[in-house]
């Protein structure tokens, strides 16, 4: 017990002397980053699981773009399950001169089977849980609808041919109700019985029908088996386990980024820890030899080291997790608009991640250096020129790397990604070491080129060969993070923003009957002096591949199987859209009018195992036709243009049942004219893209802001690496400058030499960092963002200059004190 007390005491003494600052800060930063992201993703993950049922409003749902066989409802009731039905569609809600796009959710008694509806009697009144659903002729409107229509509870609005009395404010309904469109328009809940009287649902109109079931888990499983055994057409079955997909892509992408950012932090911190631990060990060689001369056995030294490391692990884990917890709070605020779900409290389980991180870094990267201390030869007390005890580096770093890989795997849980990250890290490290070596050796030649300060500075770089390479690599790592955070990030964000052009159409018109198109076209020409672009919209199902029924085909990629199971959106057009590129075959050309041809998106073609020359058979509204595939396309999905997997050549497809989708730019001052448009064409749905564009922009801003925030930790870790690298040679420098002082060198001459050394090291590191940042930026842009990365030529210059300035200034400042100590003090310490 006393031994432990001694270990604690000596740890406290080292803390007081500042011997452990860099090491501790590095580990705390890594733990904070990991736990902040860990707490956050854990909360989001549990929120999603917890709300999966509530989002579905049931345990099992059949969703279909067409009305569903009612037989399942009977079967479910026989199994003792609860049932409900709903139907949702977009339409215009009118009140006086105002019209607003709304998503109507028409439901039967019993909805929602899971989760709840929150309502209030008037805007901003107390919220309560609703019992039952709106009666026929009545509706509950979301605050957005009430606000935009400028009405109150008790007012009447029109939906198609029917008037609906608004009786309550609908504060919350399950997310799934809008079928992914909830973000687009405020909702209105009505009774399913009212739908026929609206007279807005026509053949080809877009609507989502649902049958919902809830009850005993085993019974739900049996029902699901029965449902899936039948031919569902384009309907899909969704259970709680599938509802996890509800996390939209932005959150998923942001989470991946946050995790990657925290990983980079951990890796940098590990590097800083290893460097700081090495310095600590070197500085403690004499002390350990002294303790051994006083009778301390290896066991005592080892117990001392292990006790101190255990305290370091527990201490950094506690402080880091606490910081991580607070940091996570800020992350939740930043990401609030992305989440749209209320988060459960943080779980302590995520705190365990902090302990694991602290332990991994400490055991993997500090322990090898510190444990080697016990092998210090006691004769060092008489002869301090002996080399430090050897490190069994093969084993120790093997363990370190294995632990780190395990930690990374536990976070990314994806073997391919792990191999990708590990491979990337290994190549960055190898390239950096090789590059650093070449640069250091290359520079040695210039030492005679200028005055004494230059000779001293450059001679130092080549004399410390190995240390200089380590320093260049460490500086390069931290500068790379700096460059990534500033220049590359801005480049990528700009690239991302540019995918949304400024002159993009701001309104979509959907559900247009082909016969009303001439009238619509002339409305826009006369009133707004513009002609909208239109695209035909055909609902069709793939039924044959090369004459064989599609459902007999076997696919290795589930996407292929999914595609033939449901109706797809098809279109026909003469010109190839700008956001598409032909990757194989030939486009039919602008004036083509012959037999039907098919153009497929490349990825889908591969999933379906078809290529140029294969024949596909489609069924559209009961009519069937076969057509050859003549081209494969690459599609930019995030171009904010309507894009299609399947495109048909113009010609006789014009006769197939279809609706049109049109996009148009409406200048702000002409928006009021849209009221006339809605009255003239009540069946047409008007989609305000400004709202969506705004939301996409906000998602980008918010996601990048939270990633930036986590990168702050990475930046601190990078600075720790920088400091550790500077500290590594500090003692040696101190002694050397004292010696030079004694030999008559002025303080400014020595400082000049030191500055030249750091500026050169910084410049070399800056060039390496620019190389690394370009490579990482390229991978990020191409692999994760799906953007074309344009290499920024100024990055090299920025890297060189930033490296010279940052490393030069920090290095010189950090060494200034050591250089200016009176030489007699330093030399006397001996």
């Amino acid at each position: 017990m006393k031994g432990f007390l001694f270990a604690i005491k000596s740890l406290l003494r080292d803390l007081r002397a500042g011997e452990l600052s860099v090491l501790l800060v590095a580990i705390v930063v890594a733990v904070s980053a990991m736990t902040a992201v860990g707490f956050f993703t854990d909360r989001v993950g549990r929120a999603i699981k917890f709300q999966a049922s509530a989002v579905l409003a049931a345990d099992l749902v059949i969703r279909s773009p067409a009305s569903i066989e009612p037989s399942f409802l009977g079967e479910a009731r026989e199994l003792g399950l609860e049932t409900a039905e709903s139907m949702s569609f977009l339409t215009m809600a009118l009140s006086g001169d105002d019209n607003v796009l709304t998503i109507v959710n028409a439901v039967t008694e019993g909805y929602p089977l899971r989760g709840e509806l929150l309502v209030s009697e008037a805007m901003f009144e107390q919220t309560t849980t609703a019992t039952g659903v709106p009666d026929p002729g009545k509706g509950w409107a979301e605050p957005g609808l009430i606000g935009r229509l400028n009405i109150n509870v008790g007012d009447v609005i029109s939906i198609g041919a029917r008037e609906i009395l608004i009786t309550r404010v609908l504060e919350y309904q399950p997310n799934d109700a809008g079928g992914g469109m909830t973000n687009l328009a405020p909702g209105l809940m009505v009774n399913l019985e009212d739908v026929p009287s609206f007279d807005v649902i026509r053949p080809g109109s877009r609507a989502t029908y649902r049958e919902m079931f809830a009850g005993d888990e085993a019974q739900i499983r049996e029902l699901r088996k029965n449902i899936e055994a039948t031919d569902l057409g384009s309907a899909r079955v969704r259970g709680v386990e599938d509802a996890g997909e509800q996390i939209n892509a932005a959150i998923d992408r942001a989470q991946r980024f946050l995790t990657l950012a925290s990983l980079v932090t951990v890796i940098l911190a590990a590097v800083a820890t290893a460097m700081a631990a090495r310095r600590y060990a070197l500085r403690h060689l004499e002390g350990v030899a002294l303790m051994k001369s006083m009778g301390a056995t290896q066991r005592v030294i080892q117990r001392n080291t292990l006790t101190q490391l255990a305290i370091v692990i527990l201490g950094t884990a506690a402080i880091g997790s606490a910081l991580g917890y607070f940091a996570q709070g800020a992350l939740v605020v930043l990401a609030a608009d992305l989440l749209k779900v209320s988060l459960p409290d943080t779980s302590l389980a995520a705190g365990a991640l902090g302990l694991i991180t602290a332990a991994t870094i400490t055991i993997g990267f500090a322990l090898p250096h510190l444990l080697a201390l016990k092998n210090t030869a006691p004769i060092r007390v008489l002869r301090n020129d002996l080399p430090p005890p050897a490190l069994r580096s093969g084993i120790t770093y093997g363990i370190a790397i294995a632990t780190l890989l395990l930690l990374i795997y536990s976070i990314v849980r994806d073997l391919t990604l792990l191999i990708f990250i590990a491979g990337g890290l290994a190549s960055v490290a190898l390239l950096a070491v090789a590059g650093g070596w070449v640069l250091v050796k290359g520079f040695a030649q210039f030492r005679g080129a200028a005055g004494v300060a230059w000779r001293y500075g450059l001679a130092n770089i080549s004399r410390r060969g190995r240390e200089s390479v380590v320093q260049v690599v460490a500086f390069a790592l931290s500068l790379m993070v700096l460059l990534l955070l500033t220049v590359v990030r801005t480049d990528i964000l700009e690239e991302w923003r540019q995918t949304i052009p400024a002159d993009a159409p701001n309104y979509f018109l959907i559900n247009i009957e082909p016969e009303s198109w001439p009238g619509i076209e002339s409305f826009f020409r006369e009133e707004m002096n513009t002609t909208p672009d239109f695209l035909p919209f055909i609902r069709g199902k793939l039924v044959r591949i090369n004459g064989t029924p599609a459902d007999e085909a076997e696919f290795t990629d589930p996407r292929g199987a999914n595609f033939i199971r449901r109706e797809a959106n098809l279109t026909w057009r003469a010109e190839l859209p700008e956001s598409n590129k032909i990757e194989a075959g030939e486009w039919w050309g602008d004036d083509f009018e012959g037999e039907i041809q098919v153009s497929l998106e490349g990825g889908l073609a591969r999933s379906l195992k078809v290529g140029i020359g294969d024949t596909l058979g489609f069924s559209v509204g009961g009519e069937e036709f076969d057509a050859p595939v003549t081209s494969l396309r690459t599609v930019e999905w995030d171009s904010m243009q309507p894009n299609f997997f399947v495109m048909l050549s113009p010609g006789i497809v014009r006769e197939l049942p279809q609706t049109y989708v049109a996009s148009v730019f409406v200048p702000p001052e002409k928006r009021r004219l849209l009221n006339q448009f809605v009255r003239a064409f009540p069946g047409v749905t008007l989609l305000d893209l400004e709202v969506i564009l705004g939301q996409v922009r906000m998602v980008i801003e918010r996601a990048s802001l939270s990633v930036e925030y986590v990168f702050l930790f990475t930046l601190i870790a990078g600075i720790m690496v920088l400091l550790a690298a500077i500290q590594a040679t500090r003692d040696e420098r101190r002694f050397e400058s004292a010696l030079l002082h004694t030999l008559g060198a002025s303080r400014s001459k020595i400082l000049q030499g030191v500055a030249i050394e750091f500026i050169t090291l910084g410049g070399l590191a800056g060039v390496l960092a620019a190389l690394g940042a370009t490579a990482v930026g390229y991978v990020l842009a191409e692999q994760i963002f799906d953007l074309d990365y344009v290499i920024n030529p100024t990055l090299w210059l920025i890297g060189l200059l930033v490296g010279m300035v940052v490393v030069g200034v920090t290095g010189t400042l950090a060494t200034r004190k050591a250089v200016s100590e009176p030489p007699v003090l330093v030399l006397r310490e001996g």
Partner: protein
């Protein structure tokens, strides 16, 4: 002082043989082949004796000191310290034996820079898990006249003061043998004299056996016996 009463603890000033070396040699490898640093050393030192080891630079004084104290292993030959065969013990065994019986004073002081003067003196007692470490260390500091410097760090002390702290540290555990390697080598004459006086006074007072390595024949003359080394062999 329970440790002192335990077995294997050597009573100072017993007139018995405290340190014995027989046929002691040390060779190291060098680019020009094996190099003999010590050659066939035989010596015996008795309890309470003060013995000086003198010789030119490179004569092997420090190497002999290291072998006698068990800080290094001989190539051939044996060393008995306080009745125990050092060459039969492993590194930990030698450390334990040193912990119980040996104190050191070095030319370059070897104070731990992150510890105060008091904490430096406490170090050997803390390693022996002595609960009265603080009080005994304070007493020891007082006996070298540095009670006012307790809270000072090594860099705040002069060379002479540092060596006095080191002497307090060496004597605080009441060792049977004190090894001193050029204790005045880094000090000016006045400080050196004061340090030498302290070492000899405490040696008498505590009846410690003293093994002193030095160039200084005047200092060596204050010892009971002088052993001279030349080219790795004892010539007196």
């Amino acid at each position: 002082m329970n440790d002192r009463e335990a077995e294997n603890i050597y009573e100072p000033d017993s007139g018995k043989s405290v340190l014995r070396a027989s046929n002691l040699s040390k060779q190291v490898s060098s680019p020009e082949g094996p190099l003999t640093i010590l050659d066939d050393i035989n010596l015996e030192i008795f309890g309470g004796e003060a013995v000086a080891l003198i010789g030119e630079s490179g004569a092997g004084k420090t190497t002999l000191l290291a072998l006698l104290a068990g800080l290094d292993k001989p190539s051939t030959g044996k060393v008995w310290l306080c009745g125990e065969d050092l060459t039969a013990l492993n590194e930990d065994g030698r450390a334990l034996l040193r912990g119980r019986n040996v104190g050191f004073v070095f030319q370059s002081f070897h104070l731990v820079p992150s510890l105060t003067a008091l904490e430096n003196v406490m170090l050997p007692l803390e390693l022996a898990e002595d609960p009265t470490a603080r009080e005994r260390a304070a007493e020891a500091l007082e006996s070298v006249g540095l009670q006012d410097r307790r809270r000072h760090y090594p860099k705040q002390l002069s060379g002479g003061e540092k060596q006095r702290v080191a002497i307090a540290r060496a004597f605080v555990s009441r060792p049977a043998v004190l090894f001193a390697d050029e204790p005045t080598g880094n000090l000016d004459t006045a400080s050196g004299d004061r340090v030498a006086d302290l070492v000899f006074d405490l040696n008498k007072q505590l009846k410690t056996t003293l093994v002193l390595v030095t160039h200084d024949r005047v200092l060596a003359g204050r010892c009971d016996r002088v052993l001279e080394l030349a080219a790795g062999r004892l010539i007196t």
